[in-house]
């Protein structure tokens, strides 16, 4: 979370503390810009991921085209053949290499194409959420096998999609029981469990995972965003019964996030998410009090909320900068 070498050097150059003609050399010396080997590594991964993504997208588009001239048998043979081909690639490359893991991910995506093809061909009448749910269930053993972060993330994405589609499908029928809040709670629980499991893995000594901060940050953003929405919905609800779970859940999330990412595994990004959530929840509460309970004049109310947003966010920034500063020494 410290400033990058590039930014530090640019700052010094702006202050004329590094001569402009020496800046490129300084950037090279401090590895602020990539070396030949860095370019090699980067292009290697970029071509692998982008190439696989493009090729698999091509296959998906091909089956979406629903070409009449190709018979059922040929279609199934084609997609199953591609699955076998990618799995042969996995077998050949091994799951220790990134190429093997990416091949397994490609195979996993093709499994979804196969499921869609079954639905398309036999008109099973299954709801769309079922496709994503079954797809996710089928991929979980592969995710365990591959120990590949992207595969887990893909499974999580499928699960989130399945849940959202389920509530979209049955929203009308079960609207009395299964409203938007229940869906948000379910998504929150699933993504928070994923975050906790990930952090537990990081803590259990996997140094490779410790460097993958984007996973923590992505999951924390989703989990924090969902619980903040639930807390705001709770504050805006007019029934005291609805107020409690959302607010209690939000307070617990904030306390745990603070303890974990301040004391145990420092991550200022998650703390910044927490500050933004605090700004949102405190000011929705303040607005509710000012406009509903006190029935304050609009202009005074707006001014107070504005100053409160500015004050809470500025205080948060002061604290976050202090944490960054401590971490840099």
């Amino acid at each position: 979370m410290r400033k990058s070498n590039r930014l530090i050097l640019l700052e010094w150059a702006e202050q004329s503390r590094i001569d402009g003609s020496k800046l490129p050399q300084a950037l090279h010396l401090t590895d602020a810009i990539p070396s030949g080997n860095d370019w090699h590594r980067f292009l290697d991964k970029l071509f692998l991921v982008l190439g696989t993504l493009l090729a698999v997208s091509g296959v998906i588009f091909f089956f979406a085209y629903n070409w009449d001239e190709i018979g059922r048998f040929s279609r199934f043979a084609l997609v199953q053949g591609l699955i076998v081909l990618t799995l042969a690639g996995v077998w050949h490359l091994g799951l220790e290499k990134i190429t093997g893991k990416v091949a397994l991910l490609a195979s996993g995506i093709l499994v979804g194409v196969l499921l869609a093809l079954v639905g398309q061909t036999y008109q099973t009448g299954a709801d769309t959420y079922e496709l994503f749910a079954v797809w996710c269930v089928l991929l979980i053993p592969w995710a365990f096998l591959s120990r590949f972060d992207m595969m887990w993330l893909f499974c999580l994405m499928l699960l989130n999609t399945a849940i959202t589609l389920y509530y979209q499908t049955f929203g009308g029928f079960f609207s009395m029981v299964l409203g938007v809040e229940q869906m948000l709670w379910l998504l929150f629980i699933i993504n928070t469990v994923a975050l906790l499991v990930w952090e537990w893995l990081v803590q259990s000594g996997n140094t490779a995972r410790r460097s993958v901060r984007w996973m923590t940050r992505l999951l924390a953003t989703i989990s924090g965003g969902l619980i903040t929405t639930l807390a705001i919905l709770a504050i805006l609800a007019y029934k005291p019964f609805n107020l409690l779970p959302g607010l209690v859940g939000w307070i617990i999330w904030m306390l745990v996030a603070y303890h974990w990412h301040r004391k145990v595994e420092l991550d200022v990004y998650v703390l910044a998410i927490g500050v933004l959530s605090l700004v949102a929840v405190t000011n929705v509460t303040l607005s509710r009090i000012l406009f509903d309970s006190l029935s304050l004049n609009d202009s005074i109310g707006f001014l107070m909320v504005s100053l409160s947003v500015i004050a809470v966010s500025a205080l948060g920034a002061v604290w976050l900068k202090r944490v960054v500063s401590e971490a840099q020494t």
């Binding site: 410290r2 400033k3 990058s4 530090i8 640019l10 700052e11 150059a13 702006e14 202050q15 503390r17 590094i18 300084a26 010396l29 810009i33 990539p34 030949g36 080997n37 370019w39 590594r41 980067f42 290697d44 970029l46 071509f47 190439g51 696989t52 993504l53 493009l54 090729a55 997208s57 091509g58 296959v59 588009f61 091909f62 979406a64 085209y65 070409w67 990004y269 998410i273 933004l276 609009d298 202009s299 005074i300 707006f302 001014l303 909320v305 504005s306 947003v309 500015i310 004050a311 966010s313 500025a314 205080l315 948060g316 920034a317 976050l320 900068k321 960054v324 500063s325 840099q328 020494t329």
Partner: protein, 369 residues
């Protein structure tokens, strides 16, 4: 005793004779990008409420476009004073940001009333153009006068957005996206050369990137290509259908130029096998990008970001790249079968290139290019 990271870095540079003297004092703005983003979001929300307070309070008492304009100008001047006099103060920084945004809102509102934009009429389009011109001048002044990264990004985005709008009005659509891309490439490639003005250059570079991506998204997903400009403003796309292909080709030209410069910087001869391979690959992607300009633009940002050690720019480029791959689905001039073939064989080509890279450019410990 703990030693600051910057101290170690300074010592290293000093040992290599690249700097002399004591380590510079720490600057005020040491916040990472996500803290700045958090402050930006909160600042916008604060400004919205402040604007609400101003509209529902003072402007209701004084119902005059001129008074709104004076009030807006005063708020902007006040924000400039806050930023220039009171530094190292987060509360005043946030307050200044909200005051400035609210002031700009009032100023625009007064201009719109003064230009009688709410009443429509025949002169509506010309008045909108005049407003865009005024907005670009106002934001240029604020960009230069307010020494704050977050505010400069805001001013940069609005200013470049307004200029792009004017360029479209002058008949340069659909070449505006390529102009934005070329502008972003020039600014980022000169980042180290113009290091003396680094704070401004970075803010300008990010603003160009933001507007370029926004232009692409609105063009392809919201406004529906040129229909909006044609129906609302009577602007005919320059070069008609060929204009779209030509601008995509020119974006490919920008990609080739960026690859060319990056190769020169890593001191790789252009006529070497690796150099020619890189240029040929860029050419292939530029050709694929004719149908989806977003792919070319995303790749330019990825390369610029990586070449300059800028992870944020690289990330933005990667997201653009993936986002616009999905855009292929909406191409009406190709059948799904044609699209699937283009995507599949492009993917296979990249995987083949990767394999060739391992053969012709094996990774070594002393690999410098």
């Amino acid at each position: 005793m703990t030693v600051r990271y910057e101290t170690t870095l300074w010592q290293r540079l000093s040992d290599n004779g690249l700097v002399v003297g004591d380590e510079p004092a720490r600057t005020e703005d040491s916040a990472p990008w996500y803290v700045r983003t958090m402050l930006g979001i909160a600042g916008w929300v604060g400004a919205l409420f402040l604007l609400g307070a101003l509209f529902s309070g003072i402007t209701m008492l004084v119902d005059s476009a001129f008074a709104d304009g004076i009030l807006g100008t005063m708020a902007c001047l006040f924000a400039i004073i806050i930023y220039r006099i009171i530094r190292n103060n987060d509360f005043m920084g946030q307050f200044g940001f909200a005051i400035s945004l609210a002031g700009q809102g009032l100023l625009v509102f007064s201009l719109m009333r003064g230009l009688q934009l709410f009443e429509g009429g025949e002169a509506f389009i010309n008045q909108i153009r005049l407003l865009a011109l005024m907005l670009s001048i106002l934001q240029t002044i604020l960009f230069l006068m307010i020494p704050n990264f977050l505010h400069r990004i805001w001013s940069g985005v609005i200013c470049i957005g307004a200029i792009t709008f004017l360029l479209i009005q002058f008949g340069l659509y659909p070449f505006t996206s390529t102009l934005l891309l070329a502008g972003a490439a020039i600014v980022w490639l000169q980042e180290f050369k113009w290091a003396k003005y680094s704070a401004m250059v970075q803010a300008l570079g990010y603003s160009l990137v933001f507007v370029c991506i926004a232009h692409l998204i609105t063009d392809n997903h919201v406004l529906g290509l040129s229909q909006f400009w044609q129906q609302t403003f009577g602007v005919r796309p320059l070069g008609s259908v060929w204009g779209n292909n030509l601008t995509a080709l020119l974006s490919g030209g920008v990609l080739l130029a960026v690859v060319w410069i990056v190769l020169q910087r890593v001191q790789l001869p252009l006529m070497s096998g690796k150099g020619l391979g890189a240029l040929l690959l860029a050419l292939l992607i530029a050709v694929v990008g004719i149908r989806t300009q977003g792919i070319t633009i995303g790749l330019v940002f990825v390369l610029l970001g990586y070449a300059h050690g800028n992870k944020v720019l690289t990330g933005m480029g990667l997201v653009t790249l993936v986002l616009f791959l999905s855009q292929f689905y909406y191409q009406l001039n190709l059948t799904l079968l044609q699209k699937s073939l283009v995507l599949f064989f492009s993917g296979i080509a990249l995987l083949v290139v990767r394999q060739m890279m391992h053969v012709f450019w094996p990774k070594t410990d002393s690999n410098n290019a």
